[in-house]
């Protein structure tokens, strides 16, 4: 493909819709981020669309803003998918090597992969990803078994599937703008590939993407994705808890969370108070810091407790040598890494987006869209993209966004 392509990464999150526009240049070898658009999310709860019209309006507004910012028209969309409906399971398959000289042939590899992917899903469920967890030849891990000698070839896949209608709703929101979804990536995989280094992935790392309404997790071991999942707790829960616990409205609770929030309680915080507005107007009142921290800590402990429960067999320093990396908007909450390390029992750090991204886009809440663009670039290189129609009529149609 010689021409530059404009792709859009779309994340329909719980609090906002983010659209990032990337230009794939140099015959698919490099990527320029050329624009970003955001809008407040509406009609979305816990990553699932509950009001199609509202979700369409805000997503389309974000796409328009991004295209305007980029000065270009998006040609294809890479869409992030999250929500509690996403589920994962592992499926292992093995075949006996068919050749008499015990050399693994392509046909053996193809056969074992097909077997591993063959599992039927219940009705109304669709596969999102089949993530390969590596080959084993006679029990020893191998990267590429082709032409290696052995008797039994195994492959394990981590399958991620979701509700067909809920996935379809996300796709149709994009289709409503006149665009096609070229690929769909679950949020944790997109953000994980941005914040975890190759070395960490090799040593074993857990990536937690704590968003507004959900927390997506992704576990790497030996460089492979071995577990993904979604916990329906996110930043919104912290805001709600503060709102209920301190009897303030949601905006005030959000402000308190962002300005004074902290994930752990220090001894010196016990007597300090903060003002709700700070301008002595009617309704302004002093709120003990301790109360804010206690409320936040309770919810954060619950969140990490759920994660710990779901990943109990992996949460030890042997399995997770590289520890935990936290990203997503909530990762900006002070001392969150300390709270996670204390609760999960493994070293934890806050994820940072790669240095090739310009400073204002390195915020943790952009990890997912950056990961989507990165995925778009690698898909371009591996030729996974559907070839775009070329010719003068397509060009004219593109000019007018038809």
């Amino acid at each position: 493909m010689n021409e530059n392509r404009i792709i859009g990464a779309v994340e329909i999150g719980g609090s906002k819709v983010v659209v990032m526009v990337g230009e794939i240049i140099d015959e698919g070898r490099s990527l320029n981020i050329i624009g970003i658009g955001q809008s407040t999310a509406m009609g979305v709860r816990k990553g699932e669309i509950i009001d199609f019209r509202a979700a369409s309006d805000c997503t389309h507004a974000a796409i328009i803003a991004a295209e305007k910012n980029a000065g270009a028209t998006i040609e294809g969309v890479f869409l992030a998918q999250t929500g509690r409906h996403l589920q994962g399971f592992s499926n292992k398959s093995s075949v006996m090597v068919s050749s008499p000289d015990s050399l693994v042939r392509q046909s053996d590899i193809k056969s074992v992969i097909e077997n591993a992917k063959r599992k039927e899903l219940p009705s109304r469920r669709v596969y999102i990803h089949h993530v390969q967890c590596g080959f084993h030849l006679d029990g020893r891990p191998v990267k590429d078994p082709h032409q290696m000698q052995g008797d039994e070839l195994d492959v394990a896949y981590w399958h991620i599937e979701g509700d067909e209608r809920k996935v379809g709703d996300h796709i149709h929101v994009i289709n409503g703008f006149g665009l096609k979804v070229e690929d769909m990536i679950i949020s944790s995989i997109a953000s994980g590939c941005m914040v975890a280094s190759e070395e960490e992935k090799q040593n074993g790392v857990l990536v937690l993407d704590i968003g507004c309404s959900t927390t997506d997790y992704l576990l790497y071991d030996n460089g492979h994705i071995v577990r993904t999942g979604v916990v329906s707790v996110g930043g919104d829960h912290l805001t709600n808890d503060l709102s209920l616990g301190l009897r303030v409205n949601k905006q005030q609770a959000e402000k308190l969370k962002l300005e004074f929030g902290k994930a752990i309680i220090d001894s010196e915080d016990k007597d300090e108070k903060v003002w709700l507005f700070g301008d002595l107007t009617i309704g302004d009142r002093a709120i003990p810091r301790l109360a804010i921290y206690q409320i936040l800590k309770a919810r954060i402990d619950e969140l990490f407790g759920i994660v710990k429960k779901e990943l109990v067999e992996f949460l030890n320093p042997e399995e997770l040598a590289a520890g935990v990396v936290i990203t997503g908007g909530v990762s900006r909450l002070p001392k969150l890494a300390d709270a996670a390390a204390h609760r999960l029992g493994v070293p934890t750090r806050i994820g940072v987006n790669p240095s090739w991204v310009r400073d204002d886009l390195r915020k943790p809440e952009y990890s997912t869209v950056l990961g989507l663009l990165y995925y778009g670039l690698t898909a371009q290189n591996t030729g996974e993209q559907h070839l775009k129609k070329s010719g003068i009529f397509s060009k004219v149609a593109n000019m007018f966004n038809l």
Partner: protein, 310 residues
Amino acid sequence: MGKKTSNSKETRNWRGIKQTAGRQAVSIIARKRKFVAHAKLCGVILIILLMAGGIAYSVHFIRSYENQIILSVTSDPVRRINFESNGELDYRWFERNVAWPRDKTIMEIDIFAIKQMLEKKGQIASAIVSRKFPDELEIEIIEREPVLRARVKGKKGKTDEVYVAHDGTVYFHEDYGKSKKKHLPYLGGVRFKQDDDHILSLPGMDVISQLLDTARLNYPILFESWKVVSCEEFNGLNEFSDQIIKIRSSIVREIIFTPFDFNRQLDQLARVIEYSERNHIYNIKRIDLSVSDQVAVQFYPDLGPRKFRN
């Protein structure tokens, strides 16, 4: 919402979900964008159509206009030719020597061909031929001015008189009067080369012309005595350093010039002639002005009454 999906095996993958958007899936923003895109497309199509229509109309207009011009002039034959020249030629000469198509109308006549016919004549340096509507042709010519004359043998062995212009062009002319011819010295010592009907130009005539013009302007009496200019030892092609121009006059049999600094040489010649006349010396045979700033004068041996004829 509630989009249909097929029940084939591919539906197990999200790619099996049909990517279409129902009317309710299209937001107002998307609809507006689509409308703008369609409007732009319609606009472009309209502009293209207008341009195409404009071009078609222009072509049609130009064609019909051309037809009108032709129709309006085909009925007008040439009724008059206005012939102007800066020299000897006149309308009668034109009628005798140029075969222009008399049966054609003013628009049918190829004025470029007439111009070419005129400029083929050696005497004519340039010609302008134009139409003056509705029925006149205007011809304006600039003639070459002769500086020398010569005699050449024609095809039938007959001797013809030809004229040499400043630029070396050699041409025939029958209308020069005696008074004009009288002031033109003969050219000698030159081999004329013929190409088809005309004689090829002579090289170096610009230098000869310079000498003759200077003499005619500054020493007219001296010039009147010049009868023959000989180019035996002047070819006008290479370096002039060893070349000389010989003049035969009625006073001196041979005057030799170098092709440089004619003013100096003519001044020296005039002084020698004046001196000889003042002292009644009439037996000068040769004056050589080509010897740097000296003048070599050769006399006939007899000092008695003139026995020689220059």
